[in-house]
């Protein structure tokens, strides 16, 4: 999103430096630019989506300094000096997918894909704290993310599968998980 000379002069711009998915970015932004718009329009990381811009649908969910937040309710200037993780940062490499992403593919935990990045971040947040979530834990973790396609069932199943796979991967050698 480029500003015309008139625009840039008329408003005060703030210089910010933010680390996003491990890469440091510096930019000059208007104060009123939200973090989600910064990610999408300045950094061209369009994986994070806006569905409501008033903090209800959760499509804009990202990790900010280790906590899942609604990026439509944070201004980019507020994220100066912070670390942001978006859906584009979940995969270990460009050709791969994380266990969570792969589980969503395995159990078709999505359809149109629009809520999916937010769902993945919310699930990622859960799995960082809890590798044995109950169905209620999973529904609570994604309770702030609206989906209109899936009815949530295959999403819940995918998160449960990811949790099971991750806890097996973490299990010490020679434990019951090896047999699976």
């Amino acid at each position: 999103m480029t500003l015309s000379p008139g625009e840039a002069e008329a408003m005060s711009l703030h210089e910010i430096t933010v680390m996003v998915n491990g890469t440091v970015h510096t930019a000059r932004v208007q104060a009123r630019l939200t973090l989600v718009d910064f990610l999408r329009e300045v950094l061209m990381l369009t994986g994070t989506h806006t569905g409501c811009e008033h903090g209800v649908c959760g499509a804009c969910t990202v990790m900010l300094d280790g906590s899942s937040v609604r990026s439509c309710l944070v201004f980019a200037v507020q994220a100066a000096g912070s670390q942001v993780l978006t859906v584009e940062g979940l995969a270990p490499d460009p050709e791969g997918m994380s266990v969570l992403q792969d589980s969503f593919c395995e159990l078709h935990g999505l359809q149109c894909g629009f809520c999916t990045p937010g769902m993945l971040i919310a699930a990622h947040d859960l799995l960082q704290h809890n590798l044995a979530p109950t169905e209620e834990d999973i529904r609570e973790a994604i309770g702030g993310n609206l989906c209109r396609c899936t009815g949530y069932k295959q999403i819940v199943d995918a998160v449960a599968l990811a949790a099971e796979r991750l806890s097996r991967a973490n299990a010490p050698k020679g434990s019951a998980g090896d047999a699976a």
Binding site: M1, L3, S4, G6, E7, A10, Q30, R32, R40, M44, L45, T46, G47, T48, H49, G51, C52, E53, H54, V56, C57, A59, T86, V87, E88, L90, A91, M97, Q101, D102, F104, C105, E106, L107, H108, L110, Q111, C112, G113, F114, C115, T116, P117, L120, I138, R139, I142, G143, N145, L146, C147, R148, C149, T150, G151, Y152, K153, Q154, I155, V156
Partner: protein, 800 residues
Amino acid sequence: MTADVRAGFRYIGQRRRPKEDRRFVTGSGRYAADVTLPGMLHVALVMSPHPAARIVAIDTAAALALPGVRAVVTGAELMQGTEPILSGLDLPSMKRYPLALGVVRYAGEWVAAIVAESRALAEDAAELVEVDYEPLPQVIDPEAAMQPDAPRVHGDLDGNVLYRRRFVWGPVAADFAAPAHKVAYRARWHRSATVPIETFGVVARWNPAQQLLDVWASVQMPKFPEHLARALRLPGSGICAHFDVDVGGSYGVKRGLKHAILVGYLARSLGVPVRLLEDRLDNMRGGDAHGPDRIFDVEMAFDDDGVVRALKIRAIDDVGAYAGRAALQLGKPITAIVGPYRIRSVAYEPISVCTNKTPEEAVRGFGQGPTNFALETGMDLIARQLGLDRVEVRRRNLIRTDEFPYTIPSGSSYDSGDYHAVLDKVLAAADWSTLVERRDAARAAGRLAGVGLCCCLEPSGGNASFEPLFNPQASNTTWMEGCQIKVDQTGSIVASIGTNSSGQGHETLVATVVGEVLERDPDTVRVVRADSLGALPSHSAVGSRMAIMLGGAAAGAARKLKQGLIAIGAHNLKVAAEACIYVDGAVALAADPAERLGWQQLIDIAHRHFHLLPPGTEPGLQASYVWEVPTGGALPGADGRVQMYPCYTFESHVVYAEIDRITGQTRLGGYFAGHDCGVMINPDIVHGMTYGGIAHGIGAALYERFHYDDDGQLLSGSFMDYLIPSAHEVPNIVIVDHCTPSPLTTFGQKGSGEAGYLGAPAAIASAVNDALAPLGLHIAVVPMTVAALGDLLATKDVQR
């Protein structure tokens, strides 16, 4: 094309990872909002705050003077440069432009468009546009709008009733007089919609050197390029609509014509790319994407045994201020007007009414969901009146499996089904008798508890034949679908389709079908989307038609390829084609399969060894196929009888619900859905859409409403007040599948994009009313909100 139903499929029906999922989980989907072009400008709208007003003057000077603003356009300018959008009804005087002309007819109607260097600047400028309105009398309630002295939404029309007709099929009067019992009731389906999480967005770029308008839109609109071309006064080949834009959910509503016409006009007149993305507030009141708003007055005449002999339905649909295609949603349900039941006489009186509210748009099911709700309300009332079990009433009325194909009074033939089997399956899966015990135990403990069920149809396949029924000018009798496949020199298969998808998994559908016919792994079949210039005809993913139509088209093209491969093989094996077998892409002698030409050999001949091709064969390896809807091609008779949709998917839901006596909150404690859509091409995709449809149905049944006050203001215009079910409100759902193949389709598949939504409100209402029954209460209005149930329960003073 005759059906080609085989007992076992190799790929069809197997669990397989949908191809599309990988790009979405990695954040590399490409939605309309992700399309960014150099020099692109952004649009914001000025919307009417009044539900009805004359536009006296529009002062755009201050807005234009704001730095960064490129243009401010009003209706007067726009109407010079575009053709009006016409109604789906025969209303030639109801011309509509994206921007209001002289009059506004609903709060949220677009009055002016700002084009600026950023959306934020465009919004700043929109606030500076001064519009002088002279409010006019408005009418908000549809029945009030039908009164002769009601304010007229359209001054040049003779009242607010846009369409009204009474169809009589069968000996209705006689069949109504004879039976011992009657029930008469009103069922009200308040306005809601499927409200996707992604709003509508469109980008357009005009290329003067090529005289071509490129369009990227989050759209689910049949003939979108054609309608856009007509409105912009371009030839059809002057529009290049890019169908490879991922759509973030649509479920019917993203028709987007007014948005695209506006943006197309702006791009052309300003000579720069232009993008319009609705924000959520824009979308809710000004996006013209509201859903059904119905009043059903129903009468059923039935015998002592609960068998319905005759049915009368009057259906009023409030389309809002303009009738696009939404009015036709009173017509499509004619294809299943008696539901899954053996009712031989029907009188159906659809009435389309306009009011000063946001226009309605096509919503998932195109009117079938509310109609099913109206019918099932009656079935439960019959059971109540006779003291019969509600399941038994269904059993006695359901069409029997030995009666298919079954022609209903309005002229459509149901292709196949075994409704009793599906009902039995879901009752077993739900363990109905245990649910009833659970309910009774809850009641004994003082709680309000109920079990409910529904039996509903999802007509699928899509056919235009309801259009001439409602508009004699529209003599469309079919919808078609096309698919092209090529195999290149390297042996790679690429199939090309010509429409957007919004989560239905069409790429996986086509790859699976092509793989099945060619006996090649679907993972090796790449599916791409042609743009509108390169695509074969398509009618988009509406009417639960794609499994049938796109599946059929892809199969047809694949069969042509297969025949071509067999011909090449036979020629080179020096035998007739009948002496060959085709196995996994190779062609061999039936008598001695060791004598064979492999896949790459056949490809090499097709592409490179012209001397080895059968004489008269086109070189290369490619085929295209366009299929028209099975059973299509007929115009309605004088009484309105006509074959509409070809295939009939059946669903039966069982629901357990408890209602809090004080708060009126409904909690769903068990949800089971029996589903028969014939052969499923990809079970995960079908199940996923059914779960999602049920979630939509839960929203419509319990939470969602576009709520208007008496002044025509939308009170639920954001997600704070329009309440969409979260993972807490949608319970775990169990689906049980059944398969009665369709004799009309390639693999026996029926359509299934609307499943769940078409039955859930009826099933939940059934459970809620069962819970209320011991109190002598009944509700036939959706949504059954906390507000509605709380006040209803208070009439019985049930606190203690």
